[in-house]
Structures are given as structure tokens and as C-alpha cells.
């Protein structure tokens, strides 16, 4: 029998364009000395990474988490807390050395958020639908109020990082250098998403979303697959949170607020649920709207709402489905 693997050329090109956009934007801005716009591109990359993490749970696994701000914020607070300890020369709790190297901050952030995701997931995955949404929200609110009530690390006011954490010998305070670090993390996150999506685990995860009973009847427990995906998802979003803290050199409870969770869902839905470059497309549109329309009117979110409405009404495929409609296969 002849076998044909249709290569979704248009989808690949669209994804490539979306991925390369922040890089091109940052390079151009850097050449023309507009460092503010380099920072804008960095914001796109980091929010895109955070939403890519959510896309793993939401897009592939069908888990509508309204608690991903918790993972984003945990990543941010880990970066902030490690930086403040390193600055003061105090060791971290549990005798961990206070190395502010970004690589070790990232590992710690992903570990902390991954463990938290394990607890949240183990409990919330006993439910589904609205109950799942509410339990993830409740856990995130728990962390939010904890951050506000804990005066040691800034409480309600948040905490500032005097310098960005170091990344080997690089001058991380230079906007373009930091952009490239964030962009590299974004690429790694996208690669992880693509590889997982195409793997055996990814097949089981997508089956769990479409029909958990069918997966169970095949002998695979859907809740275990979803739990592992939830943990990976939380860890990726935490990596973005750690970068976000370094970008702003500031961490506050707003990173943990439910608005942040909602924003991440908006990015995924706007860009295209389950599509590789969807969340990044959503983040790009979001940040550009916020900047360019935000300069014209305070009510720029009206236009964001309008865009979201259009996307949802026009077939729910997000921006990616406008750029590259889905064919018969899945891509």
C-alpha cells in the first residue's frame, strides 16, 4: 500500500514566522538603539514560553487550569529569593548554596513548581470540568495570599532584584543579551512541546483529552498521564516566571494573581489551542496590542476582547488557524 506523509508546509512556515518574529523584532530594535523595544520582544518570548507550558496541559491534555499563575509566580519568587540571598551572602533554606546563576535558579524554580503541580494535580485531577477549574484556582489563590502575608520577601509590595541573576559570564543587564537568553529558553520550551506532542506519551495525553474512557479501556490510566503532563506544564511555566522576574528585576504577588492565570489562558486561546506556535502567536498579539494600542487608549483591552471574540466565533482555532488551517491530520 502506498504511504504518503503529507508535510504540512503552510503550518510549518506559519510556525517559523511566529517563532522568528520576536528575534527579528529584537535585532532590529537593537540595531536602531531602541532598547525598550528589545525589552518588548523579551516580554513576548517570556509570556510565549509561559503560555507554551499551559498549552501542554490545556491544549494537549484538555486541562483548563485557572491556576497557572501559581507556577509562574513560584518561578518568579524562586528567582527573587535566590537573588536576595546571594546578594546578602546568606545560604538558602535546607542548606542549599545561594548560587544566583540563572541555570541553577531555573532548575530550582522548575523543581519547586513541579512539586507543587504534583500536589495540585493529584488533588484536582480527581475532578473535571468546572470543579477542576475551581480547585486549580483555589490553590493559586492560596499561594497568592501566602505571598502577601509573608513579610520576609516583600509581602504585598513585592521585592526588587538589584541586578539580574548572572548567566555564566554574560552581561545579563544588556537588553539584547538577556533577550537571547529568554529566546533560547523559549526555543527549548517549544522543542519540548513539539517532541512530547509527537511521542507515545503525547498520543496518550491527546487521547485522554478526547475520550478518557477509551484510553482506560486500552489499559492506560488517563489520570496518571494527565498528572505527569500537568507537572511538566507547571515546570515550563515556572521557567518563564523566573525569567520574568529577571526581566523586570521585580517580583510581586501580581504574578500570582488569578488575572495572570486568565491572561495565560487568553494567550493560548487567542493563538490556537494545542498548536505549537499558538501561545507565542497569542503572546505576540497581546504584547503588541498592549504597547501600541495602550499608548493610544487606556481601554486597549477592549480591542483584545474583540480579537478574542472574533477568534472564538470564527472557529476556535486561534490565530494559527487563520495563518495555517488545520488539515485532515493533526499538526
Amino acid at each position: 500500500m502506498p504511504e504518503r506523509h503529507a508535510i504540512p508546509v503552510r503550518s510549518l512556515l506559519a510556525s517559523l514566522a511566529i517563532v522568528l518574529f520576536p528575534l527579528a523584532y529584537a535585532l532590529l530594535a537593537n540595531l536602531s538603539g531602541e532598547t525598550f523595544h528589545v525589552t518588548l520582544a523579551t516580554r513576548i518570548a517570556i509570556l510565549g514560553l509561559a503560555a507554551t507550558g499551559l498549552n501542554l496541559a490545556l491544549g494537549l491534555g484538555g486541562l483548563v487550569s485557572l491556576g497557572h499563575a501559581a507556577f509562574f509566580g513560584i518561578g518568579g519568587y524562586v528567582a527573587g529569593i535566590v537573588a536576595s540571598h546571594a546578594m546578602g551572602g546568606e545560604p538558602l533554606p535546607f542548606g542549599l548554596p545561594a548560587s544566583a546563576q540563572m541555570a541553577s535558579v531555573w532548575a530550582l524554580a522548575m523543581l519547586a513548581a513541579g512539586l507543587f503541580a504534583l500536589v495540585v494535580g493529584a488533588i484536582s485531577l480527581r475532578t473535571s470540568g468546572v470543579a477542576f477549574i475551581m480547585i486549580t484556582l483555589a490553590f493559586a489563590q492560596l499561594v497568592f495570599y501566602l505571598a502577601i502575608a509573608w513579610p520576609g520577601y516583600g509581602g504585598e509590595d513585592g521585592m526588587a532584584l538589584i541586578l539580574r541573576n548572572p548567566f555564566f559570564g554574560l552581561a545579563t543587564m544588556r537588553p539584547m543579551t538577556f533577550f537571547l537568553i529568554a529566546f533560547g529558553a523559549l526555543l527549548a520550551g517549544l522543542a519540548a512541546f513539539a517532541i512530547i506532542k509527537a511521542s507515545r506519551f503525547g498520543a496518550a495525553l491527546q487521547a485522554a483529552r478526547q475520550n478518557p474512557d477509551r484510553l482506560a479501556a486500552l489499559g492506560v490510566r488517563p489520570d496518571r498521564i494527565q498528572l505527569v503532563a500537568f507537572v511538566i506544564s507547571g515546570a515550563i511555566t515556572a521557567l518563564a516566571g523566573a525569567l520574568y522576574a529577571d526581566l523586570n528585576r521585580f517580583v510581586s504577588p501580581s504574578m500570582l494573581s488569578w488575572h495572570m492565570s486568565g491572561e495565560l489562558i487568553v494567550l493560548v486561546v487567542l493563538g490556537g489551542v494545542g498548536r505549537l506556535a499558538g501561545p507565542l502567536a497569542g503572546a505576540t498579539l497581546y504584547v503588541l496590542l498592549e504597547h501600541f494600542l495602550g499608548g493610544v487608549t487606556e481601554r486597549w483591552q477592549f480591542f483584545l476582547g474583540l480579537a478574542l471574540l472574533l477568534v472564538v466565533l470564527m472557529g476556535r482555532g486561534g490565530l494559527m488557524s487563520l495563518l495555517a488551517p488545520k488539515g485532515a491530520g493533526h499538526g
Binding site: 511521542s199 507515545r200 506519551f201 498520543a203 496518550a204 479501556a217
Partner: protein
């Protein structure tokens, strides 16, 4: 007589005051198709649920392949080799027929926690999956998303999944439901061959299919088994005729 692969003994289930499974005992032997018939509301689906692990019985036991599986969950039963198909075809609408069957192959191998190697070109999944599809005559439709398959093709896909899983026994909930006469005939032929490889316990309303396929028939009325026997015995059973067949053919 060969030892039964599946044995249900003294099963009971009540919801409040309503007893839906009342001391049910039945078994499934190698090489046979055992049909479970009964009027609507007789408790067939609840019984199937208890055999497959989606409903827990109040009393009694289910043993499979020599092991007591009464308290096992659905996934554990499936891994032990108890396959099932659903009353309403239960498919993954976005997956192609091939992707479904590859998922069944990976489930059989127990390799669902592999994160790296892409499945698309993986021959250790693809080849057994294509073989299973070929056996149900779906190899030419391998790349079609399940949502676009016809009703009859979905039924055959479910059978391919069971073949790919290598199930030791199969529980089918109304396989003929919603099939045209042509589709019913095809599926009947397919299941008739399958029994030697995988014995089948089948709930079915289509009496033509039941009497064409079944080696034994059990009749369930108000949660109780009122008769078990060969098709000829069941046809001539006065109690059954009154309770069920008479009603159906009237």
C-alpha cells in the same frame, strides 16, 4: 470442558431500593460467543459495567484468567487482557484509524510514558497496528480521522483495537446497535471468526445476530438470569418466550 476465562459469581448491585443486578452468575469459555439478552431495563449495561470495572458491585465476585478482579479499575482489567467495546462507538475523533490502533499497540507494550521518540515513523507501533487494521479490512482507511469513518467502520476499528491490544476476552455492549443490515452482516462474519482467538461476551438486541453468532445465550430479566443455554434451548424455553422473546416478536 475448558476452564472459563471469565467467571461472574453471585453478583449483586442495588441503587437505593432498586435491585439492578440480582445474584447473577455466568461465565465465558474459550472459543465461544456468549450472548446476554433481555428487555430494556433488565440491567444489562450495569452488569457490563461491573464486569469491566466502571461500576462496583455490592456483593459477589468477578474473576478473569484465574484472578479475582472484582475490585480492579477499568485500566487494570484492560491490561490483564479484558477488552471491551462500548454501546456508542467510543473513539478519539481527531485520531486517524492508524493513530488509534498504534495507541492500542503502545498500551499493550506498556510504553505510554516515553517522551522522546516520535510515533509517526515508529515501525514497532506502525506495523502491528497496520496488521490489526488489515484484519478488519480497514487498512485502506488507515489515514482517515475517526470522526470521518462510517458507523460500521468505527465498529470495525473498535475490533481492531482489541486485536492490537491482544485481549484474552472481549466484552461487547450492543455491537450491532445502529448498523444497517449490510454492516450487521459484515460485523457478524468478523466476530464469528474472532471467537476462536478471543471469546466474546456480548449484550445484543439484534436477535438475528444473536442466534447467528452465539454458542450460548443467557437471558436477563429484572436483574436476574432466568435461563442460560444453547440458542435452540433458549428458543424453546417457555419462560423466556413469555418474558422476552414473545414480547419482542409480537
Amino acid at each position: 470442558m475448558a476452564e472459563p476465562i471469565l467467571r461472574v459469581a453471585g453478583l449483586r448491585k442495588s441503587y437505593g431500593g432498586l435491585t439492578v443486578t440480582d445474584d447473577v452468575s455466568l461465565d465465558l469459555r474459550p472459543g465461544e460467543i456468549h450472548a446476554l439478552i433481555g428487555p430494556n431495563g433488565a440491567g444489562k449495561s450495569t452488569l457490563i459495567g461491573q464486569i469491566c470495572g466502571s461500576v462496583m458491585p455490592d456483593a459477589g465476585s468477578v474473576s478473569f484468567d484465574g484472578r479475582d478482579i472484582t475490585r480492579w479499575n477499568t485500566a487494570e482489567r484492560a491490561r490483564a487482557g479484558l477488552g471491551r467495546t462500548f454501546q456508542i462507538s467510543t473513539i478519539l475523533p481527531e485520531f486517524t484509524a492508524l493513530a488509534h490502533t498504534m495507541l492500542a499497540v503502545q498500551a499493550r507494550q506498556g510504553t505510554s510514558f516515553r517522551f522522546f521518540r516520535p510515533t509517526a515513523l515508529d515501525r514497532s507501533l506502525r506495523d502491528p497496528a497496520m496488521q490489526a487494521l488489515a484484519r478488519v479490512g480497514l487498512d485502506g482507511r488507515a489515514e482517515i480521522p475517526a470522526a470521518s469513518l462510517s458507523h460500521g467502520e468505527r465498529r470495525r476499528l473498535e475490533v481492531a483495537l482489541v486485536l492490537a491490544l491482544g485481549s484474552k476476552a472481549l466484552v461487547m455492549d450492543e455491537p450491532m446497535a445502529g448498523m444497517g443490515s449490510e454492516g450487521s452482516r459484515e460485523l457478524t462474519a468478523l466476530l464469528s471468526q474472532l471467537r476462536h482467538e478471543t471469546p466474546i461476551l456480548m449484550v445484543e438486541h439484534d436477535m438475528d445476530a444473536v442466534f447467528a453468532l452465539a454458542d450460548r445465550i443467557s437471558v436477563l430479566v429484572y436483574g436476574r438470569i432466568v435461563a442460560t443455554g444453547t440458542p435452540d434451548e433458549i428458543r424453546s424455553d417457555r419462560l423466556v418466550r413469555e418474558a422476552y422473546l414473545g414480547e419482542a416478536s409480537a
